[in-house]
Structure formats: structure tokens, C-alpha cells
Symmetry: C2
Subunit: 192 residues, 2 copies
DNA sequence: CGCGACGTTGATTTGCCTCAACGATTGTGG
DNA sequence: CCACAATCGTTGAGGCAAATCAACGTCGCG
């Protein structure tokens, strides 16, 4: 089995055991997409109708305010899902951009396909419940840190938590993730 | 039916239809707890072993940094769940306090009971999946606002989004939710 | 080769914080 | 039912973390 879908099946299996035939049902709903560095999976204004599981590569989601400043919402690498969850869930235009930071391969499922899949295999609700729960825990950790820690400590924690990411993404995006300017991150790094 | 459990059953039913007997199964796992203003549902350091659905009242979760400063993570009112999700999920000591801001009534389910309930009624995974998904959408909205909007606009958006909360909670907690000091919120309100 | 993307450095500005003082309100015990 | 203490909100002076703006060096790539 040299199948790209093995990876997502594996990931789901960690949380919810799957029979061979259930695996085939899932795969029936999936498509794949290759996306080159600097290309966009989603752009602001368009409806985001697919969830994306990253088989290979690295992407970011961010939004742009009225002054043109970018704010990085998250990075996502192998075995993470990325989408504009609000647009995907509530059928509203996306407020985000999702961009590949490396040549990447993603596994896609449309909103409609996901609805059908969840009817076919209700046990997958559990998978998403667990995934989402982790996301919430992470979000609160980030909110907490942004409020209570100075930028330098947030940066150190980022390095500790995502050591591999520092090598893969430009510094100014890390600054944006931390909620500071690239200039200030540079100064922080310089002074120690 | 003058039952306090009606409220949670109703809330679940919005997301997942329930038969009469399924309702009884759920209720079998629940307990209730009255909690007076200023009392704590959870304190830092203890394991948080229950999820709480608020039938009546208003609570907050917050944590305290090493300097003794408080940071408000969220408010929760009727029909919302509140817990330290990390402590509850991963069986680690809580880093938060959860405190009643009014005399309140909450419906409790322990981690063990929830595990059993989800085995008995797997369809409830869907309920939590939907609840959690909304939480994530809200979290990103908050993260986004904290990064890109000045305090005054965050305050205005808070007023717009939670008009009833302003009447129910002290201003210094709103300031904490917004990530600013009460003094600064006061100055913002004064100047316009 | 030359241009654009990226990172750094410095001077200046600013949004928000800290600390301190002071009313107003609430609540509580004598 | 009053006195006193907390709790809460406000105001002002001064300080600091981080932003802004601008300039400049470097690298990778078309």
C-alpha cells in the first residue's frame, strides 16, 4: 500500500479503530490536491468548502486587516487539519487566507462529503470531537500566554513547543504568530 | 416535568434528537450542584474531574500568574459548559479557578460518567463535536481581535456580542477578559 | 545580474501599565 | 441601624514594552 490515503487512515485509527471496509468508505469521500509554495488553498472572500488534512508540507492561515497588516492564526504541518472553520461550517465567506509555505500535498473533503461520511460512519464524530477538543486546549493556552507573558517568553515557549517549525518558516511569520512585529522579534533575539 | 435536567436535555436535543429512553440514560449520569456567589467550582492545583453545564447563573474561569495577577479566560452563563478542559481531559492538575459570579445551579458529569455515557450513547459524540467546533470558532475570533484591534474596539465588540453580560459582571472582569487593566478600561470609557 | 523577499538596526512614538490616591457603594457585625 | 471595612470604579502622574518608520545588508532566484 503506497497510498497517500494511508496517512489519514492511520491518523483516524489512532483515535477510532476502523475496519478495512470502513477505511474504504472514508477513502471514497476523499480527494487529494498538490499545492506549490506560495499558492493559496483558500482566499479571503471566497467560500471555504473543504477541510484539508495535510499529508505533506506546511501551510499557514492568516487574515489581513483594513490597513493591510497580516495576522497569523496558525501554522499547520503533517497530520493536522486546516480550513477556515467558520466559513466551512456556517457557509459564510472566508475572512482568511490559507497559503502553502512549502510544496505540499493535502487530502480534501468537502462539506457535503463530510456530512455524508458522518452519516455513513457516525463513529467519526468521535474522531472530530477529540481533534477539536485538543484544538480548544491549545487555543486557551495561546490566549493565556498572549495575555500574561512578555514577547520573549512567548517566543521561547514557541521554540520549545515547535522546534521543527523554526527551520521551516520565515521569522516574520513567527513574529506574526506571536503577535509582535518582525523588527521587535529581531531585537529580542539580538539582546540574548 | 419540573425537572432541572430538562434544560440540558433540551440543549442536547437541539443538536442531536433523543428518544425518551435515551433522555433517561443521560439523566442517569448527571448530578446537580448549587453554588453560591464567590464560591469555587474548581481551584488551581486540584484535579478537575467534572464538566459543568450551567442551568442557571453565571461563572468565570481565570488563572493567576506568579505575580498574583488574574487573567480571565471566559465567562459562562445559562446553557454553556464550563470546566478546565485540559485538566478534565488529560487528568492533570488544574491551572484555573472557576468561580460563581452569581448564585448558580450547575449540572455535573464526571469524566468517568461521561466516558460511560459516550459508550452507551455514541451519538453524543456528535453533540460535543458541534459544541467544541463552535468554541474553536469563537476562540479564533478572540485571538484575532486581541491581535488586531485596539482595546476600545475590543470593548465595543464585547458589548455588542454579549450585551446582557455587561449588567451581570463587574467591570474589572470585563477588563481582564479584554486583556487590559480596569484602570485603562475606565479611561477608555471616559473619553468617549 | 538585478530585483524582490527577508532580516536587522536605530530613532521616535504610543498604547497600555503601574502605582497611588480618592469617592461611591455594598455588606456585615456590634 | 449605624460604623467600618471591603469591594469596586475612577482619575492622574510617570514609565515601559512594543509599534512605527526608515535605512541598509544579504541572500536566493528568475
Amino acid at each position: 500500500m503506497e497510498n497517500i490515503f494511508d496517512q489519514i487512515i492511520q491518523h483516524i485509527s489512532i483515535h477510532v479503530p476502523l475496519t478495512e471496509s470502513e477505511q474504504q468508505v472514508i477513502i471514497g469521500y476523499l480527494t487529494t490536491r498538490r499545492i506549490k509554495k506560495r499558492q493559496f488553498l483558500v482566499s479571503e472572500g471566497e467560500h471555504c468548502r473543504t477541510e484539508h488534512f495535510i499529508a505533506k508540507g506546511c501551510l499557514r492561515s492568516y487574515y489581513v486587516d483594513e490597513k493591510g497588516k497580516e495576522y497569523l492564526l496558525r501554522f499547520a504541518t503533517e497530520n493536522y487539519w486546516i480550513t477556515d472553520l467558520n466559513s466551512f461550517t456556517n457557509n459564510v465567506p472566508s475572512t482568511q487566507f490559507i497559503e502553502a509555505l512549502e510544496d505540499s500535498e493535502v487530502i480534501c473533503i468537502t462539506r457535503q462529503a463530510l456530512d455524508c461520511l458522518l452519516i455513513d460512519l457516525p463513529k467519526l464524530h468521535k474522531y472530530f470531537m477529540l481533534i477539536y477538543r485538543n484544538a480548544i486546549i491549545n487555543n486557551y493556552d495561546r490566549i493565556q500566554q498572549n495575555f500574561s507573558l512578555p514577547a520573549l517568553e512567548r517566543y521561547r515557549n514557541f521554540q520549545k513547543k515547535y522546534p521543527q517549525l523554526e527551520q521551516r518558516v520565515p521569522r516574520y511569520m513567527i513574529a506574526s504568530y506571536l503577535g509582535i512585529t518582525p523588527e521587535f522579534l529581531s531585537k529580542l533575539s539580538a539582546q540574548k
